[in-house]
C-alpha cells in the first residue's frame, strides 16, 4: 500500500467522467475547493437552502460579536479542516492548514475591526477573503465543508448506494453543523474509508467545485479595487510601493499588499458590496471546474461503447443497462445535468427504471427546457428492449408532469416503430396547453453522442437539434 501512487483515485473501477462526484485521490488532495457561490446560483432548492444555512451560520457568529459574546462567536466560527473531502491546494499531502483556532481568532478580529461589516452582515462567506488577510480560497472551502457536512454525509451514502461502493459502519465523524441548534455535533456514520489511514471519506458533488471561488480576492483586486484605486489616486502610491519594494520575499510583499487592501475594505464595505453584486450578476459564467479530470476522454468513450455492445437487450440485463446509461449520461452531460438518481418502480406489474437528473445547466438549450417544460428535473426512462411498445410511451407520458417536468427521454436499444412515433406525437398533441415531449435515444445515437464528446464537441447541441427535429415534426 505504501508504494501506491498518491495520485491514484480512491475508486478504481469507475471513471471520473461517469460519476457525479469528485473522486478523491489516495495520497493527495484534488486541487479544487467547494465554492459556496455554486450553491447560491443553483436552481435546486435543496442547494439554495444549503447556501442559506451557511450564511445563516456565519451571520449568527457576526451577531454574537455584535452582542459582545466572543466565546459564542468562537464556538460558531470553529472551522477545522475537513480532510475527508480530499480537496485542497496542499501539494503532495492531504492535510492543509485548516482554519482552526488561529483563523477562528482571525475572523473574529476582522469582524471586531469592521463595525460596518458587523452592521451589514455577509451575503457570501467568500467576502471574508476581501476583508481578512489570512483567509484565502482554501479556507472558504473549509468553512463550507464544515457547515455542509451533514449534506455531504448523506450525499456520500447515496452515491455509495448507486455505485455499490463499500462502506464501513459506524465511522466516527465529528464537527457536524446542526442548523436547528446552531451547534456542532459528532456522530457515527456508514461511510467509505481511506485505504491508507482508515479515516472517513466524504464525496463532494462535481457541480460544487472550482479552483478559485467565483468571488475571490484576485478578481476583486483586478476589477473593483483597481477602479477604486484609479479613483483615489492617493492610495495608489503606498499600494505600489509595498508590492514592489523588493524587501523580503515576493510573498511577503503580496501579503503586505493584501493587508493594505483589507484595511481599505474593512473601512469601506461598499467596495465589497459593489463587487459582490457584480459577481452575482455574472453568475451565469460561474461554472464548476472540470480541469482536474486527467483521464483520456476518448478512451472512456470507447470503453462505454464496448460496454454498451456487451449488454444484451432484455429484462435480465435491465439493471446493468440502467447503470451503464447513468454512466454514459454523466459522461455526456455533467455538469449540465447533475445528481443523476436511478430509480426503480413497478407500475402495472411492469418494472420501470428511470434516471432523474437535476437540470443545473446555464447552457441555452437546457435553460430553455427548464423554462419551457416546467421543472429542473429531466427524466430518462431506460428500456432495455429492441422493441419499444406503446405501453412504454403511455407510462412515460403519465409520469411526466409537475414533479419531473414535461420533457422525458426514453433510452432504448433500437429506433422505435412508426406506430410508437405516432403515439409520441399524439402525446404532444393531446397534452396542450402543457405540452409533454418524449424524445428517444437509441444505442446508435448514444454512440454518436459519445463520439461527439470525445471530439470535445457539445452533446447538448446534439440534443438541441434532436429536440428541434421533434418539434418541427409535430408542426
Amino acid at each position: 500500500m505504501s508504494a501506491a501512487d498518491p495520485n491514484a483515485p480512491f475508486i478504481r473501477n469507475i471513471s471520473q467522467y461517469d460519476v457525479d462526484f469528485v473522486i478523491p485521490r489516495i495520497g493527495v488532495d484534488v486541487a479544487v475547493g467547494i465554492d459556496p457561490f455554486l450553491l447560491y446560483k443553483s436552481r435546486d432548492p435543496e442547494y439554495r437552502n444549503l447556501h442559506a444555512t451557511l450564511i445563516s451560520a456565519f451571520n449568527s457568529g457576526i451577531e454574537a460579536i455584535r452582542q459582545g459574546k466572543r466565546s459564542e462567536a468562537g464556538r460558531l466560527f470553529d472551522f477545522p479542516e475537513v480532510s475527508a473531502i480530499g480537496l485542497g491546494y496542499t501539494r503532495g499531502s492531504k492535510r492543509g492548514s485548516g482554519v482552526g483556532t488561529y483563523l477562528s481568532g482571525l475572523i473574529i478580529e476582522t469582524l471586531v475591526g469592521s463595525p460596518s461589516l458587523q452592521e451589514r452582515g455577509i451575503r457570501h462567506v467568500e467576502e471574508m477573503q476581501l476583508v481578512s488577510a489570512g483567509i484565502g480560497p482554501d479556507r472558504i472551502s473549509d468553512i463550507a465543508a464544515n457547515v455542509l457536512k451533514r449534506f455531504l454525509i448523506q450525499y456520500t451514502q447515496r452515491q455509495c448506494a448507486i455505485w455499490k461502493l463499500p462502506v464501513k459502519s459506524g465511522v466516527p465523524i465529528n464537527h457536524i453543523y446542526d442548523s436547528s441548534s446552531q451547534d456542532w455535533e459528532d456522530s457515527y456514520e456508514d461511510l467509505p474509508v481511506s485505504p491508507v489511514d482508515g479515516s472517513a471519506i466524504l464525496l463532494v458533488p462535481r457541480r460544487l467545485v472550482r479552483v478559485l471561488p467565483w468571488i475571490n480576492y484576485d478578481d476583486f483586486i483586478h476589477t473593483e479595487f483597481k477602479a477604486y484605486l484609479a479613483a483615489k489616486r492617493n492610495l495608489v502610491k503606498p499600494f505600489r510601493r509595498d508590492s514592489s519594494s523588493g524587501v523580503g520575499s515576493q510573498t511577503d510583499a503580496k501579503s503586505q499588499a493584501k493587508q493594505d487592501v483589507v484595511t481599505v475594505t474593512r473601512g469601506d464595505i461598499g467596495l465589497v458590496e459593489r463587487y459582490v453584486r457584480s459577481r452575482e450578476q455574472q453568475a451565469v459564467d460561474a461554472r464548476p471546474a472540470i480541469h482536474y479530470i486527467d483521464e483520456d476522454a476518448c478512451k472512456e468513450a470507447e470503453l462505454l461503447k464496448d460496454k454498451l455492445s456487451g449488454i444484451a437487450p432484455g429484462r435480465e440485463s435491465a439493471a446493468e443497462f440502467q447503470q451503464l446509461v447513468l454512466e454514459i449520461l454523466n459522461y455526456l452531460f455533467t455538469p449540465e445535468l447533475t445528481d443523476g438518481k436511478p430509480e426503480v418502480r413497478t407500475l402495472d406489474g411492469t418494472e420501470r427504471r428511470d434516471i432523474l437528473f437535476t437540470n443545473e445547466s446555464d447552457e441555452s438549450f437546457w435553460d430553455y427546457v427548464r423554462t419551457e417544460h416546467s421543472g429542473i428535473i429531466v427524466m430518462f426512462e431506460v428500456k432495455n428492449t429492441d422493441d419499444l411498445d406503446l405501453a412504454a410511451i403511455n407510462q412515460t407520458a403519465t409520469y411526466l408532469g409537475d414533479r419531473v417536468g414535461r420533457l422525458g427521454v426514453i433510452v432504448t436499444r433500437r429506433a422505435p416503430s412508426k406506430s410508437v412515433l405516432r403515439k409520441i406525437l399524439s402525446v404532444w398533441n393531446d397534452s396542450a396547453p402543457n405540452r409533454k415531449v418524449i424524445l428517444t435515444l437509441t444505442d446508435d445515437q448514444l454512440r454518436e453522442l459519445l463520439d461527439i464528446r470525445c471530439r470535445d464537441k457539445s452533446p447538448t447541441k446534439w440534443m438541441q437539434k434532436h429536440y428541434r427535429e421533434f418539434r418541427t415534426t409535430v408542426q
Binding site: E363, S364, F365, W366, D367, Y368, V369, Q464, Y467, R468, R471, T472, Q475
Partner: protein, 266 residues
C-alpha cells in the same frame, strides 16, 4: 235517310276531332306542366349553385386580400431584416424577429394550400438559440415566393369563378324568364333574359333561332346534361381561352374543389 246518315257521321267526326283535340290539349298541358316542373327544379338548383359560387367567390376574394396583405407585410419584413442583418451573418436573430418570422410562416400556411415548397418550411424552434439572420432571410424569401404563386393562382381562380357565376346567373335568368307569365317567355330570348339578370349574361348560353332573327337560351343543351356539367363544359371553354402556357389549369378540379369546400362549409 242518306242526309240523316251524313249528318250523323259529320257530328261523330267533329266529336272525334274535338276529343282528339282535347286529348292533344291535355297532353300538351301535361307536357307543359312537366316542363314547368322541370324548369322550376332546374331553377332551384341553379339558384343554389349561384349562392354557392357567390360564397366561394367571396371566400376567394377574402383569401386573395389576406394573401396580398401578408405578401406586403413580408416584403417589408424581408427588406428590413436584410438591411439590419448586414454584417451579422453569424449573429442570432432577436426573439422579435423569430416570433414575427414564425407568425409569417404560420399565416402563409393558413392561406397557401398544396405548395410543396412552403410545406417544407417549418416554424423556427429556438430551443434556447435563435436562428441566425441568413436562415431567417432565406426562410422569409421562400414564403414570399410561395405567396407570389398563391396570388397568381387566386387571381385565376377568381376569374374562373366570375365566369362560372355569370353563366349560372344567366341560367337562373333564363329559367325565371321561362317561368314568367310573359308572352313567348318559353323561348327565353336574350334581350328578355337580360332583364332578369343583374349584370351581364353569358353569350355562350344562347343560340340563334331557326330564322336567325333572335338569340334564344339553349334549353336543349341545358336539358341534355346536369347543371354541373353544363357549367363545367363552359368552364372548360372559358379555361381554354384563358389557359396558362403550361396548360395546367383544371376547371373540373376547381369545381370539385368548389363542391368540397361547400360541403365543408355546410
Amino acid at each position: 235517310m242518306t242526309e240523316a246518315k251524313s249528318g250523323q257521321s259529320k257530328t261523330d267526326a267533329a266529336a272525334a276531332r274535338a276529343a282528339k283535340k282535347a286529348a292533344e290539349e291535355a297532353e300538351e298541358e301535361r307536357v307543359a306542366k312537366e316542363l314547368r316542373l322541370r324548369r322550376s327544379s332546374q331553377l332551384e338548383h341553379s339558384q343554389a349553385a349561384v349562392e354557392k359560387l357567390e360564397g366561394e367567390l367571396r371566400a376567394t376574394r377574402k383569401t386573395a386580400k389576406r394573401c396580398e396583405t401578408l405578401a406586403n407585410h413580408s416584403e417589408g419584413f424581408y427588406e428590413e431584416t436584410n438591411k439590419l442583418s448586414k454584417g451579422k451573418t453569424l449573429v442570432e436573430a432577436t426573439t422579435l424577429f423569430v416570433d414575427q418570422t414564425n407568425d409569417i410562416i404560420r399565416d402563409a400556411k393558413d392561406i397557401v394550400k398544396s405548395d410543396v415548397y412552403l410545406d417544407r418550411i417549418k416554424e423556427f424552434v429556438p430551443a434556447g438559440n435563435n436562428p441566425v439572420y441568413p436562415d431567417v432571410l432565406v426562410t422569409v424569401r421562400t414564403v414570399r415566393q410561395s405567396l407570389g404563386r398563391c396570388k397568381t393562382d387566386l387571381r385565376g381562380q377568381e376569374k374562373r369563378l366570375i365566369g362560372t357565376l355569370c353563366r349560372a346567373r344567366t341560367v337562373v335568368g333564363a329559367l325565371e324568364c321561362f317561368l314568367s307569365d310573359e308572352e313567348n317567355a318559353e323561348y327565353a330570348i336574350k334581350e328578355t333574359v337580360e332583364t332578369f339578370v343583374e349584370g351581364d349574361v353569358d353569350d355562350s348560353c344562347f343560340v340563334s333561332d331557326a330564322q336567325g332573327s333572335a338569340e334564344c337560351f339553349d334549353f336543349e343543351e341545358l336539358d341534355a346534361q346536369t347543371l354541373e356539367e353544363f357549367l363545367s363544359i363552359e368552364e372548360e371553354n372559358y379555361d381554354a381561352e384563358n389557359e396558362d402556357e403550361d396548360g395546367e389549369l383544371s376547371i373540373d378540379k376547381a369545381l370539385q374543389d368548389l363542391g368540397e369546400k361547400s360541403e365543408e362549409e355546410e
